[in-house]
């Protein structure tokens, strides 16, 4: 993947496909610690130990286990290659949390990229799921929540292209505002 935001889209798609009602995406960058941590946490159906074990071995799967693919291994490899740590915690019926950290200044770390577009794509693809997104750089934080969007707009349909395009731009503006010209 050429942007970390594409990995986020891919991993969060797993959450919605696992029936999650709520997905929380956190991106926290810290220049002093030279680190970015990304987590995707959901309340979907979760995975048992056997499926969790298989997540690390995408090519061992057969057609009957097709729900395990390349998404997690790609995210993990992107993290490990920058000196980061990667973990998945999951429990059946409760949900899954995927956490990956990255060396902020590591030469192999790809840019964060267009997070607004990732969120707009997720919302448009799973309008019944609520997405919360929390971004921070050096402790300065921006939070976006589709629950808040729905309460302000007074209706639940967020899937029209005008709304999604506006939300995309709004999220990116807020991130840019926190970054103050710094590109992550």
């Amino acid at each position: 993947m050429t942007e970390l935001s594409l990995n986020i889209l891919d991993i969060a798609n797993n959450s919605t496909r696992a029936g999650a009602k709520n997905v929380i995406i956190r991106v926290a960058a810290d220049r002093a610690k030279d680190l970015i941590e990304i987590s995707v946490t959901d309340d979907g159906r979760g995975m048992d130990a056997e499926l969790l074990r298989r997540m690390g071995d995408p090519f061992a799967t057969t057609r009957t286990t097709r729900k395990v693919g390349m998404g997690v291994p790609l995210f993990k490899a992107a993290s490990i290659s920058t000196g980061g740590d990667f973990s998945i915690v999951s429990s059946p019926g409760k949900g899954t949390a995927v956490t990956a950290s990255f060396g902020l200044s590591h030469i192999d770390r790809v840019p964060l990229g267009d997070v607004g577009s990732t969120l707009a794509t997720l919302i448009g693809g799973a309008p019944k799921t609520d997405f919360k997104f929390v971004y921070s750089l050096d402790g300065k934080t921006y939070a976006f929540d589709t629950k808040e969007v729905k309460s302000v707009l007074g209706e639940t349909d967020l899937t029209d292209v005008t709304t999604l395009s506006y939300l995309k731009d709004m999220i990116n503006e807020n991130i840019d505002n926190i970054n103050g010209g710094y590109i992550i």
Partner: protein, 130 residues
């Protein structure tokens, strides 16, 4: 700075337009973008965004855009499927944001598929790119 309040105002202005077509679903054109790992890695997200932008700027109200998982021909991603009622499905392959304008203008608006972007054309004229 963009705000949810401003978005609400934009949506209020759009309401009349949307209300006019609440029941028109049967005649809707469906555009489906493959958004599995293979599609995302190949560039499906900007393709989807370009489709949305094009529909918005042309103010098309009879088009429904959705996403799907892996279509099974990953080497041809990004893949966009177009369903026009009473017509055969058209599968566009190796899509880019630049190709989206032609697909919307020629196929969705004027009803004539862009043959050279289709899967069947790509298979019949198979080059080095999958």
């Amino acid at each position: 700075m963009k705000t949810l309040q401003e978005l609400q105002e934009i949506r209020d202005r759009m309401k009349s337009r949307v209300a006019n077509r609440e029941t028109a679903d049967e005649s809707d054109v469906r555009i489906v973008v493959g958004m599995a790992t293979c599609g995302i890695a190949a560039g499906a997200r900007p393709v989807l965004a370009a489709i949305g932008d094009e529909i918005e700027s042309r103010k098309l109200t009879n088009v429904k855009v959705s996403q799907t998982g892996c279509i099974g021909i990953c080497a041809y991603e990004p893949i966009v499927e177009v369903y026009v009622p009473n017509r055969e499905k058209v599968t566009y392959v190796h899509m880019t944001p630049e190709k989206v304008g032609a697909v919307i203008a020629r196929h969705i608006v004027n009803g004539s598929p862009v043959t050279e972007y289709t899967y069947s054309y790509a298979v019949a004229n198979r080059g080095g790119n999958a």
